[in-house]
Point group: C2
Chain length 325, copies 2
């Protein structure tokens, strides 16, 4: 009745923060999306539940990521009461399970990693779609994730100017300090219109439930990575901006349910069949689909899927194991 | 961007086998079912997927178990190719997550534990429903789980005779040895009819997809714990036996989908509304519902739910932590 001794490696946030960079994760995420397009990755149904505390939301995202020999699941909680305890509201943990035997081999804290994996996906979309010499990045939102996203865009385009727009000034100092430290750039803080009108690339990374700016302010040729919407009711862009853009999504079924695309979909402006041809996996698999459109606005709608978590956790496990030796 | 240091305790199969007994788990399972009846426990949707190997099935069961301060999830795989590698086909791992903060605090191997938690649930049903002086247990199936189930029934009734019926003779020796060692009883092997006609309590614990015996052979007053059916198409009892019995189930929605009850439900002989009044949680919560029916056959349909896994993992964590000190 006994199994062979199991070795389950635990990788902490601190391990990942010390040893893992964006560039360690990007190729793994890229391969996972290519595998998804080729039918070699699978995303299982998302579980949604509630924790015991007020407003404690819980979810499990799971699946298989093609070339990676693992089934993975990410358990994620959002418990806003944590702030009172000096803890972050979000907690994510990824378990990796051997694809063949079904035996778990790693438990990876995915709090810091979640930031990198989301930004890595933005880097991939921006690399495919933004103007080659994009110099000005406009960022909506200046929280912790906005720092990851700014660095991600700067890793694939020669960004020289960062303009940030945020409702509150509270985090301006922390955001500016981080960007100065990481990119050696001074952040300019501006209103929504100024941010849009000057940007070659726009990134929205907020918990907004209404459009952040008028689509009239966005110049043709702008690429927008819409990173914020990941639940019903969340929205950062105007419906017509999404509907008239050259749109790409991570997972069509999820984009229309909880992504930025949900609003244009519900308005009947976008069909699921159409989106099946507009996935990031397809874009990454077919170089002929990539490239900047000077007369159009491109949008990447990121809602966040399990294969990103699996690919990121597996890559982080390899890197940490190697570099900690 | 860092979290406080996390402590995730790992509890291995070997820890549990060395330190945890059926009686450590029974009260936890009982409380979890009582909480479920009181509306204090929740079972989230089950995830089903496939692994990479042939016939590798994967599932995640998750939920919250009332009095226990945890959200829990059990990732389970069935990979029959494992036998070639000298590994068990089933692998289960439970993660426990703080109910308030959402932070994981334990990863518990649930292979040996799964056997105990299922048997503990059988013990609870049998304690409520079987004849007080039940002396003869009939067991269909003689695999590893049958050993747990036999011990569970013997823990709540004065069993003096164990009759076992199995299609193959291959495991007879191992089963008989285990029962002799654990209960000091000599197992009699018999055909299905003899097993039924002599039993005060019957336990079915097989992967069968068709009835194991004729309902005509079962004496009035017999209690049956049907432990095997946990997927579409599995079946151990005749439809009319289930339909005419005093039936109890762990979770109505799951019983009609994948439990023994699925067949009587599909035949229109049992309704979901009716089953809502016939749960193990209700039975355990209301002593007036408990007791032996000399003229009737009682059936407990166990399909296996997340709150059992959470309660068992949490209890095992407490016991192992205490006894290993």
């Amino acid at each position: 009745m006994s199994q062979r001794d199991t070795v389950v490696t635990f990788v902490s946030d601190a391990d990942i923060e010390a040893h893992v960079t964006l560039n360690d994760i990007v190729p793994a995420i890229e391969q996972a999306f290519i595998d998804l397009d080729a039918g070699n990755s699978e995303v299982f149904d998302v579980v949604r539940g509630r924790g015991g505390g007020d407003d404690h939301f819980f979810a499990i995202k799971s699946g298989r990521a093609g070339s990676i020999p693992a089934i993975g699941l990410k358990a994620g909680s959002y418990a806003p009461g944590n702030h009172k305890l000096g803890l972050q509201a979000h907690t994510s943990t990824t378990m990796l399970i051997d694809d063949i035997t079904g035996r778990p081999f790693a438990v990876v804290e995915a709090n810091y990693l979640n930031g990198i994996r989301t930004a890595a996906t933005n880097a991939l979309a921006t690399r495919c779609l933004a103007k080659a010499d994009a110099k000005t990045l406009g960022v909506f939102g200046i929280g912790a994730q906005a720092i990851f996203e700014t660095c991600a865009v700067a890793s694939v385009r020669p960004i020289q100017r960062v303009i940030a727009c945020a409702r509150s000034t509270a985090q301006q100092g922390a955001f500016a300090d981080a960007i100065r430290k990481q990119l050696n750039l001074d952040v300019e803080f501006a209103d929504a219109r100024t941010t849009c009108e000057n940007a070659d690339v726009l990134v929205t990374v907020t918990p907004s439930r209404a459009p952040l700016f008028s689509r009239e302010w966005v110049r043709p040729g702008t690429h927008i990575s819409a990173m914020g919407a990941d639940n019903v009711g969340k929205q950062e862009l105007e419906v017509e901006l999404v509907a008239q853009s050259k749109l790409w999504v991570d997972l069509p079924s999820q984009a229309v349910a909880i992504g930025e695309t949900q609003h244009a979909f519900r308005a009947g402006r976008i069909t699921l069949a159409q989106l099946e041809q507009q996935t990031l996996g397809r874009l990454l698999s077919r170089p002929e689909l990539q490239g900047h459109h000077p007369d159009a606005i491109t949008v990447f709608d990121s809602s966040g899927i399990a294969i990103q978590d699996i690919a990121a956790a597996y890559a982080a496990l390899q890197v940490v194991t190697k570099r900690k030796r």
